[in-house]
């Protein structure tokens, strides 16, 4: 009898045709530990967008998206463990939100054939798709960010930085050191005097660094910080009465929680962003289809904030790449290799962002086989402490490709030579 029932069940399953598997998007998040304040809103935005797509659109091309969350604590070893634990679930793409984890995953994803998307972080020279087949860092990378900051300062200074002193205050890690080469190149090109000042992890104590800034009186300070380093730096800048409008953080030093601990003293602080912060229609959808139904990843309080928007934007780019992959391969049930093809053919133009309910959320860009880095554009925003919100100061600014492209070429070719990688895209 049991055998008969099993045969009937198997027959019914076969007759129903192949069921579409979920599209799996692992979320290597960090909701605990010293960097949780940044990890939580990003992860909330990332997950909520997939929930929205499932609830509102019935999934991606009719296939539900499934997010597998794995806590890394911003710890590289745990990040690698999370990767190993989730890749067997049919993972389509990884976005670890950590440069340290990214560096460890690059050889692994290349061997396993799973795309890695490091939006505005990770290994900058991965923008060269000829070398890095499985790694993408569109729409912008660290070197773009450094260049956009200098371009903005050039505009502010009437096109001449020749007599200016600029200090780079950076997290003493691989992440923090990323912009140094670019800034050195830009310093040689534009003639400004560059000072680099390191802050050790975690950055809770920065008295020496700010006394040095007070002594040397740079015209501008550019900050490459993350976590507590940002809050302490903004407070210390206020303490020495450094003009906030001359203090520019990169896009990982420009969230609400970076400025609020300093209160009104943070008023006027500037930061780069790869997203335009606004009350976008897509947030209304998230409130209606996700938060109001009690399905939000967090308590809904982060919706619309800087890092929530960025996490949601990361998910949006993943969904659009998956849709592109479905179109290319003519199947809704895509694999990681197909996802990579979709990422390599992704186009984000104004019309598409408008249609997604997120007009101007990011720069317009297109990805190609050779260019995995996008347009590299960023905006400058300024903190209005009185109203408690970021105000965009500029439209999207293009980076100085004449400086960045040779650096990307040099670094990626060195990586290719070290690892015996044959160049693609010819």
């Amino acid at each position: 009898m049991k055998l008969k029932l099993a045969s009937i069940a198997l027959g019914a399953a076969l007759a129903a045709g192949p069921a579409l598997a979920d599209l799996v998007f692992p979320d290597l998040s960090y909701r605990t530990g010293p960097y949780a304040a940044g990890g939580i809103p990003f992860s909330d935005g990332y997950q909520d967008y997939f929930t929205l797509v499932n609830e509102r659109d019935g999934g991606i091309g009719g296939v539900p998206a499934r997010v597998i969350e794995c806590e890394t604590g911003y710890n590289t070893e745990k990040g690698v463990e999370c990767y190993e634990a989730t890749k067997g679930e049919g993972a389509l793409i990884y976005q670890p939100l950590s440069t340290g984890i990214t560096y460890q995953l690059i050889p692994k994803v290349s061997a396993d054939g799973i795309p890695l998307h490091t939006m505005g972080y990770g290994r900058t020279s991965a923008a060269n798709g000829k070398v890095f087949e499985w790694v993408f860092n569109y729409p912008a990378n660290y070197w773009n960010a450094a260049s956009v900051a200098i371009k903005y300062l050039l505009d502010e200074s009437g096109g001449d930085l020749g007599d200016k002193k600029i200090a780079l205050l950076y997290h003493n890690s691989a992440y923090g050191k990323e912009p140094i080469r670019t800034l050195e190149g830009l310093s040689a090109k534009h003639g400004f005097d560059l000072t680099t000042i390191a802050v050790d992890h975690p950055g809770q104590e920065q008295k020496s660094q700010w006394l040095q800034i007070r002594r040397e009186r740079p015209d501008y300070v550019i900050m490459w910080g993350w976590g507590v380093m940002n809050q302490v730096a903004i407070q210390e800048a206020a303490n020495i009465r450094f003009p906030m409008e001359n203090f520019i953080g990169n896009w990982w030093a420009g969230a609400e929680h970076d400025v609020t601990p300093a209160g009104m003293a943070a008023d006027g602080y500037k930061a780069l962003n790869m997203n335009r912060i606004a009350d976008l229609p897509v947030f209304d959808d998230i409130r209606t289809y996700v938060a109001d139904k009690g399905m939000a990843a967090g308590d809904g309080s982060n919706i619309g904030k800087v890092l929530y928007t960025r996490g949601m934007y990361a998910a949006m780019l993943a969904v659009e790449a998956a849709k592109t992959a479905q179109e290319i391969h003519g199947t809704p049930d895509i694999t990681a290799a197909m996802m990579r093809d979709g990422m390599e053919a992704l186009v984000m133009d104004a019309a598409k962002m408008e249609a997604l309910g997120a007009p101007g959320i990011g720069p317009e860009f297109g990805v190609t086989c050779a260019d995995h880095g996008g347009s590299g554009m960023g905006i400058l925003q300024q903190w209005n402490a009185g109203e408690g919100k970021w105000v965009a100061l500029t439209d999207y600014i293009s980076p100085d490709d004449a400086i960045i492209d040779p650096l990307v070429e040099e670094d990626s070719m060195a990586f290719a030579a070290e690892n015996g990688i044959d160049l693609r895209c010819d």
Binding site: P34, A37, S208, L211, H257, P261
Partner: protein, 338 residues
């Protein structure tokens, strides 16, 4: 002359930073002195105290996220904003309750165990408290507002600017650091008076000298442990307030314990004045070293400069002292006769 004046400024700020390090180190010393336990959870105690202070002051409902997730409610705040002093007093109460719980659920069961067992128990306690703090109060960064002054002192800057030439802008001294120094001084005097002249303080010293002997004369080991963990909790609250005022209250606060380790190595694990003197030496030493090796004249002389040296140099400095005084500057010399 200007360089010299800036070196003096760095030294003064080093002293101030040292006081903040000493505040963290004090908690370690108190517990080690009374029970021989190296309390790995001291940094997390500071975090937990600061989280509780802000939560109580802002009227945040504890465990709100958990309650809302379980019952679908929308609870967040009680709707009050407590005065800073009342919030601090309530937080001290919470830290005393925590000390009672630690004694009741952990230490009581580990009497006469090896120090390493007790140390490992505090590692577990650290992870537990970090998780508890997260569930109770949430992970977002909180602004600490207990009325502490912020920013450099204008008055000192103006009065001292005349000491140097055009390139000297007066001594920068953070008002928060001045407050921290005063608070630390009051704390040390209070703790010293308490341990020297009060009945409980003498009992605490007796337990520190010899558990068995103290028990034999009727001193309650359990009470002493609750007392010392309560005081350590209070010291952690003070450290949490001072550090939290700089960065907001966030989970990286627990990492301030890293700043206390070289101070303890240098000052000794059993001396309250040692924690202060150790903190001052580490603070001045690391700041002056950073000032020297990052300066342009050092670069001209040696062809390179260094930065972000403070984390490792503090340990180097402590190790140099240890070569000459293995027990630390103020630590008790252990003589074991066979």
């Amino acid at each position: 002359m200007t360089e010299f004046l800036y070196a003096v400024e760095v030294m003064i700020n080093g002293l101030m930073a040292g006081v903040l390090y000493a505040l963290v180190a004090l908690g370690f010393v108190l517990i080690f002195k009374a029970s021989g336990i190296f309390n790995y959870a001291q940094g997390v105690l500071a975090l937990f105290a600061a989280l509780t202070l802000v939560g109580l002051q802002e009227g945040q409902i504890p465990f709100a996220h958990l309650i809302n997730a379980m019952f679908g409610t929308e609870l967040h705040h009680f709707g009050w904003h407590l005065p800073a002093l009342l919030a601090i007093l309530l937080t001290v109460g919470v830290m005393i309750l925590l000390a009672i719980a630690i004694e009741r659920f952990i230490l009581k069961h580990l009497v006469n165990q090896e120090p390493i067992i007790l140390f490992m128990a505090t590692i577990g306690l650290a992870y537990f408290l970090e998780g508890l703090g997260d569930i109770m109060w949430g992970s977002e960064i909180k602004t600490l507002d207990v009325g502490l002054p912020q920013g450099g002192s204008f008055w000192i800057e103006e009065k001292t600017a005349v000491l140097g030439g055009d390139g000297f802008y007066g001594f920068f001294i953070d008002k928060l650091d001045i407050v921290a120094a005063l608070v630390a001084a009051v704390l040390v005097i209070g703790l010293t008076v308490f341990s020297q002249y009060s009945k409980q303080g003498r009992a605490l010293r007796a337990v520190a000298d010899d558990h068995q002997a103290a028990l034999s004369v009727g001193i309650s080991l359990r009470f002493i442990w609750v007392l010392v963990w309560s005081i350590a909790g209070f010291v952690a609250l003070v450290a949490g307030i001072m550090w939290g005022a700089k960065s907001g209250v966030q989970f990286s606060l627990s990492l301030i314990a890293l700043k206390a380790l070289p101070v303890l190595m240098l000052g000794g694990f059993t001396s309250i004045p040692g924690a202060i003197v150790g903190g001052l030496i580490i603070g001045v030493g690391e700041k002056l070293f950073e000032f020297t090796v990052s300066s342009s004249w050092f670069g001209d002389a040696f062809g390179f400069t260094m930065s972000a040296t403070e984390n490792w140099f503090a340990y180097v400095l402590a190790l140099i002292f240890l070569v000459f005084r293995p027990q630390g500057l103020f630590g008790e010399k252990i003589i074991e006769r066979v």
